[in-house]
């Protein structure tokens, strides 16, 4: 999970969405200020990296925080 967290931090910083590492509790929209364009951009990178789909099969899966997103990636990686 830590490696995933690092990976996410790297892409967030690479795209200049954040300037330093983000905490697990940070909310994607309210705290990190990610708009739909930003979220879809990082989702694409994650999907490409792990060859998974982040498409929600169930809307309760929609990630709100960094931790939700990492859990979703982990789940899809199987």
């Amino acid at each position: 999970m830590e490696a995933l967290h690092d990976f996410l931090n790297q892409i967030l910083i690479k795209h200049e969405y954040v300037s330093s590492a983000v905490t697990l509790e940070a909310k994607l929209k309210e705290d990190l200020g990610l708009d739909s364009l930003a979220i879809l951009t990082i989702a694409d990178e994650i999907e490409e990296e792990f060859d998974i789909s982040l498409e929600a099969e169930d809307l309760s899966e929609v990630p709100k925080t960094v931790s939700d997103l990492l859990n979703l990636i982990q789940k899809r990686k199987g």
Partner: protein
């Protein structure tokens, strides 16, 4: 009857039953349906609507992604003379709380009888406070089709509503535009009269709950009998190259998108991903729905001319949901006309070309059966060419108003003439837009166009691209309308006070190039400036929040935190009987 969707589309299906609608998925794979397939499928859907007690005139909310199901259901609604209204379906990353509230409000505002959507949405959201709901899978599984559209042909009327569409940017205050069968078919005719007579092969990723996607891409193409390749909007945002790959794969002749999309493909497509692409088939890429920036379009040409993009491809257009869609188109065969106008003359109401000033692009001439009238703000009298005023539109595609909302209808429609709220002028027969009236900055008797000021500031280092608001507020002390600039800054937390002051000075000096002085510059962290659902910054809302102290100003926040640290240190130091001068009153 001539100006109704079903009779027209039926003719097209009969003429070219094998013509194709193609859906491209995120992997770049295609799924193809013939017009005949789609027609047969829509008859089945229509039968299922009837079984579910949907009657002529009932409003049906379609909350589906761009898909064969969306298309079949839209056509089925036409067959049973129900009124479809397309709503934004939540994606895998939608903030559901805000979405649900808005969506329920939109459904209620049109008094929809039913919402038709995917099971995964129905499992999560309860629509019962607004209307009933049906799972789209049930339409697919339904097998009986006894619906005979031919018997109903005599019932179609051009006065019926073809669909409702929510005008863009109306998040908190939904306004559903009533597009009649006559309006819709006339707008399709008007569009057709100014575009190419060659074979139409279109590519679109635009959302179908937006006028440019629904009318400009889908309806226009299927009435005309063209081939259409459709991409889901989110798939395009994730993988912008899909748009150009589809154009290249299908030798497409037509596409349409707002300015930002041209910028996005430039930014996100690496040179390597251009290999093997060929854009030489593209006759035109209509560009509308927001201000068109010369810099963006220049970059687009520079990047894609080497793979065959024609220098005349990008075609600026103007339109809005209230006129069904299209109002003016520039000539698709010619290069964009950019003209520079003298700033002082323009802000005092006259368009005069000049070597320096504001560069704007021509949006072309009014389409067939459409008229543009520039009127004086105060007297409401028509202004001659070259005079800046408010843009009024009339003609066969202008709708009669907002659904069940006479108050908002009376605000914007005056005896069949639409007050667009946009400011612009006609010059050498072409329309030019300088801004939205409500956003315009009027300071010391002069008008300024916020877009132009913001564009200057985008160029400053550390400013988040596109995340700048220029606006004005009434300053009681000076008794004047003063200019205020808000800018979202990259990595703001890592910048020291000196860097922040530098950015501020640069902003002050860029604004002064426009001939005015900003009274205040407010630097904020990312995501602070309020936006509409489509991502446009809300200028007036930003000022309102700031004036009421509810906008999180980074520097204030910084000072608050600094003071907390100082107070903490003071307590610590006091407890150690030390005083290094924090909060010490100065001797007078």
């Amino acid at each position: 009857m001539k100006n109704s969707f079903i009779p027209k589309f039926y003719q097209t299906v009969s003429r070219c039953p094998e013509q194709e609608i193609v859906f491209m998925n995120k992997k770049g794979e295609y799924q193809t349906y013939s017009y005949q397939d789609i027609w047969n499928r829509s008859l089945k859907y229509a039968q299922f609507l009837v079984e579910n007690n949907i009657k002529p005139g009932d409003v049906v909310s379609i909350m589906l992604q761009t898909s064969i199901e969306y298309l079949s259901l839209f056509i089925a609604c036409q067959q049973v003379r129900a009124i479809p209204v397309s709503l934004y379906p939540p994606s895998s990353f939608t903030d559901l709380d805000g979405w649900e509230k808005n969506t329920i409000r939109m459904i209620k505002s049109v008094d929809a009888k039913v919402v038709i959507t995917e099971n995964k949405i129905l499992k999560f959201i309860d629509f019962s406070s607004a209307c009933s709901s049906i799972d789209i899978d049930k339409f697919e599984k339904f097998n009986e089709s006894v619906f005979k559209v031919d018997t109903l042909f005599k019932n179609f009327s051009e006065e019926d509503l073809c669909f409702l569409q929510f005008s863009s940017g109306t998040t908190g205050n939904p306004k559903a535009v009533m597009v009649s069968q006559f309006n819709a078919m006339k707008n399709v005719d008007s569009i057709d009269s100014s575009l190419s007579e060659n074979e139409l092969i279109g590519v679109s990723w635009l959302p179908l709950y937006h006028d440019m996607g629904l009318v400009g891409s889908l309806l226009y193409t299927i009435i005309k009998g063209g081939k259409l390749i459709l991409i889901k909007p989110n798939d395009f945002i994730m993988k912008p190259y899909l748009w150009l790959k589809a154009i290249s794969d299908h030798k497409a002749t037509a596409t349409v998108a707002p300015n930002f999309a041209f910028g996005l493909v430039c930014k996100r497509m690496k040179h390597k991903s251009l290999e093997g692409l060929d854009l030489s088939s593209l006759e035109y890429a209509l560009c509308g729905a927001e201000m068109i920036h010369q810099e963006t379009i220049d970059k687009f040409y520079k990047k894609f001319e080497p793979i065959g993009l024609k220098k005349s491809a990008v075609t600026p257009v103007y339109g809005m949901a209230e006129s069904t869609l299209a109002v003016t188109f520039s000539n698709f065969k010619e290069e964009i006309i950019w003209k520079t106008f003298n700033r002082d003359f323009l802000s005092s109401g006259t368009a005069m070309e000049s070597s320096r000033g504001i560069t704007l692009c021509s949006l072309g001439e009014p389409l067939k059966e459409m008229n543009v009238d520039i009127r004086d703000e105060e007297s409401s009298l028509s202004l001659p060419e070259g005079k800046v005023g408010r843009i009024f539109v009339s003609g066969s595609s202008v709708v009669s108003g907002y659904y069940k909302d006479p108050v908002k209808t009376n605000e914007n429609f005056h005896s069949g003439v639409l007050d667009t709220g946009d400011r612009g002028f006609l010059y050498q027969g072409n329309l030019y837009i300088c801004g939205r009236d409500k956003d315009i900055i009027i300071s010391r008797g002069r008008n300024y166009y916020p877009e132009k000021i913001e564009e200057r500031i985008f160029q400053i280092e550390n400013i988040r691209e596109g995340k700048v608001v220029a606006s004005s507020y009434w300053d009681d002390i000076n008794g004047a309308e003063e200019i205020v600039i808000f800018a979202e800054i990259k990595n703001i937390k890592s910048l020291d006070e000196e860097s922040l002051n530098n950015i501020k000075s640069l902003i002050f000096s860029e604004v002064s190039v426009e001939g005015i002085r900003a009274k205040e510059v407010v630097l904020v962290d990312k995501g602070v400036l309020p936006r509409t659902s489509s991502g446009k910054l809300k200028r007036r809302e930003t000022v309102k929040l700031w004036r009421s102290g509810r906008l999180i100003n980074f520097e204030d926040d910084f000072k608050v935190r600094l003071n907390l640290v100082k107070r903490y240190l003071k307590i610590k130091l006091d407890s150690m009987n030390l005083n290094l001068g924090f909060n010490k009153k100065r001797a007078s």
